[in-house]
């Protein structure tokens, strides 16, 4: 397919050079981007990364290499990253750790806590507690969270 497309475009002398060079690449990119968007949308399911490679019409190793070239993470690393980011969001919203763990697609609490700590630096329960404290502080003294220069400019200091 790759060859077919580039031959077709190279055959037309009126096609600008930029397009002949970019078109096959864009075709490749679209498939990789679709794979990434698939992970973004289905991160909580039991995603089989082999299936994604198949759907993107790549061999598994070619797919992983191309994905890493673009996103600097393998599909598996990216999936973990998306799950941990989502977990942080839910913990910020005061959802209990055990619920968050299963909501973002982990099967065991211990592997979730271990991975979370490796990425974020603290355990999910510590993170949840920190966020609760921050939220209380935001309600009690909002200005402590806003750089003073902005607060002054906007007239928030007198209020």
């Amino acid at each position: 397919m790759h060859h077919f497309v580039s031959q077709k475009f190279n055959g037309n002398k009126n096609t600008p050079k930029m397009i002949t060079e970019q078109y096959p690449r864009i075709y490749l990119y679209r498939r990789l981007v679709q794979a990434k968007l698939f992970i973004d949308a289905h991160y909580l399911d039991d995603i089989d990364l082999d299936n994604i490679a198949d759907e993107a019409c790549f061999s598994k190793f070619h797919f992983i290499r191309q994905f890493k070239n673009i996103y600097r993470k393998t599909p598996h690393q990216y999936l973990i990253f998306v799950r941990i980011e989502k977990a942080m969001e839910l913990l910020k919203a005061d959802i209990p750790v055990s619920v968050v763990c299963y909501t973002v697609g982990f099967e065991s609490l211990s592997s979730f806590s271990r991975l979370f700590k490796r990425v974020v630096g603290i355990t999910p329960s510590t993170y949840l507690m920190q966020q609760q404290i921050i939220k209380t502080q935001i309600v009690e003294s909002p200005l402590a969270f806003i750089p003073g220069c902005f607060a002054e400019k906007y007239g928030w200091l007198e209020k």
Partner: protein
């Protein structure tokens, strides 16, 4: 640098654009009076750098200033900044799929490859892959 201002027409709509379409995360969301929040967004890759989505309201600006500023923003007067990415073609395809409006597709320039896009208010940015 820790904070930068982007003047937006509507905070809710800007929040939707910068998080759901452009893919940033909310960092701070502090209510400050009836129509205004201290609302900042950022990227997980660059923690400690916050983009402050400042609404152009009469709460924050004199009436005439607010009107003039809204007009200028809507007209696309302000080029706010450059977002650098690993691979501009991939990011361009992804953002386009999510509904971000581009005014220039990735184009090779002497300094790298660059595309231009607009936020929901009219502020424009460069999306660039340097080298």
């Amino acid at each position: 640098m820790t904070h930068v201002n982007i003047y937006v027409l509507n905070q809710d709509s800007a929040l939707d654009f910068y998080t759901n379409k452009f893919g940033l995360k909310v960092i701070m969301d502090v209510p400050m009076g009836k129509d205004t929040r201290w609302l900042t967004v950022g990227t997980p890759e660059q923690r400690g750098f916050e983009i402050n989505l400042t609404p152009i309201t009469e709460d924050l600006f004199p009436k005439e200033t607010a009107e003039a500023l809204r007009d200028l923003v809507k007209k696309g007067t302000f080029g706010v900044g450059v977002f650098t990415c690993n691979d501009v073609y991939a990011t361009y395809e992804e953002l386009k799929a999510k509904g971000v409006e581009f005014t220039k597709p990735p184009t090779k320039e002497f300094y790298g490859t660059e595309a231009l896009f607009k936020d929901d208010s009219g502020n424009w940015f460069s999306l660039a892959q340097l080298v």
